[in-house]
Amino acid sequence: MIPVFCLGFDFGNAETGAVLFDPERGYLRAVTLPSATAPGRFADLLRTRAGLGLSAQAFADDPVSHVPPLSQHEYVLDYDGSEWFVGDLALTQARDPSSARGDISRYWSRRAVHLLLAASAHLIPARSAEYEVHVVTGLPVETFNAETRKRVKAALEGHFTFALNGVRRSAHIRVLSVIMEGAGALIAHGANRPITQGCIDVGGRTTDLFVARGQQPVLPLCGGKPLGVESVGDRLSQRFETVYGRPLKPAEQRTLLRAYVRRTSPEPLLPGLPEAEPVLYASGVEVPFAELCAWCEALFAEAGAEMAAFVGAAWNSSETGAVGADIAQVVLVGGGAYYVADSLRERIPHLFIPSRPELANATGYGALAQTLSRRKSEAEALARWS
């Protein structure tokens, strides 16, 4: 019998989050990875790593004494006759990584399928070579309509045979629902009562606002703006190029922004990150990290003010300038939550930031997938019985 899993899949412009649920037992595990992919061959990578003394054969023979050739979060996907580096590998080992940032068709593109296959195969133990996964995913508020939902469902559903890091897998994917981004976060961290609650989702490219009464969307208060963390990364790169004569590479941007958060946060908000500060060079000269942090601080203050103005315009509830005052609870989520919380809290004092805000939507999607999956199997059981 093919094992069935439920998956919340949040295919962001910058980062993809996936949260796996068991249909009966609930939450199992989660992963985030950069949404980037790039052409790249597994055999070439292994050959390069072997040159560095990291041998797949040696690791297979004696996993205690040897380091695996690939780290836990490096993925090479072999699907449909092509091989792709996915996530960190695409950023660090490929010449031209892409996440199709800003292209709305990305949500029903092959890249979305690649990320879904890599994330599900990573989360579902390899002993389940063949698996069925019931997926709930989301679309930005501005992109969400009946047609785009249909396209996402058509693109992601199907039977896929592929290999992840050389291990053959077979995935039967069913998309149970496509909902608005932000709705997932309110499932994960909202209130149970039928109160009006809002979500600010700061992503790589966009900031989305979602408001619901209970879980019922209040559409006039939902909206989006093309302003996200990646736009700050772009401005940072432009400034770096002006001063030091070269732009920042995508991997450098990501590392730098995360190191900035780690340095400025009172607690380790981004788990699993190395403590060491990144060392960047331009024309052989080391660039002081403190200088880059000062740039980050100024750019995030600007972006935060812009986001606060957007939220203020959308949720302004009185002439006093109070923002979201008639919304009982406001949750700030998305990977950008780490960077702009202070700016937004000045305007919305009742802002709440959950643990792991970058996984909030995927967690809610996963919980919804679990509910819908259970309901589906109960309906099928009843249909058999009656």
Binding site: Y27, R29, H122, L186, Q215, G272, P354, L368, T371, A383
Partner: protein
Amino acid sequence: MPRDASRNLYITIGIPRDSRMYQRLAEEATETGLALSQVIAIRLADYYHVGPDLRSPTSLPSEQRAEVEDDAPVLAHETRDLEARAAQAAAAWAADEE
């Protein structure tokens, strides 16, 4: 399929034909292709569902945690509440599904 009264309880209930509840049940029956009685049974099962608690990451046995990206909690609060909100969301978004 013949009735099995020793295994199942069969009941007769009355629902006002002009009620919102009946309207929604009928819509769902049409959408899903199920009998109205089956939809009612599913909804009751949803409402009273008492499955095993959703487990927090830290309560998972080590073999299941081996592939967890890190141990920072994704769900910080009562997971039974999560189930309740997911059921509410299922109802809210079902109306939008084609």
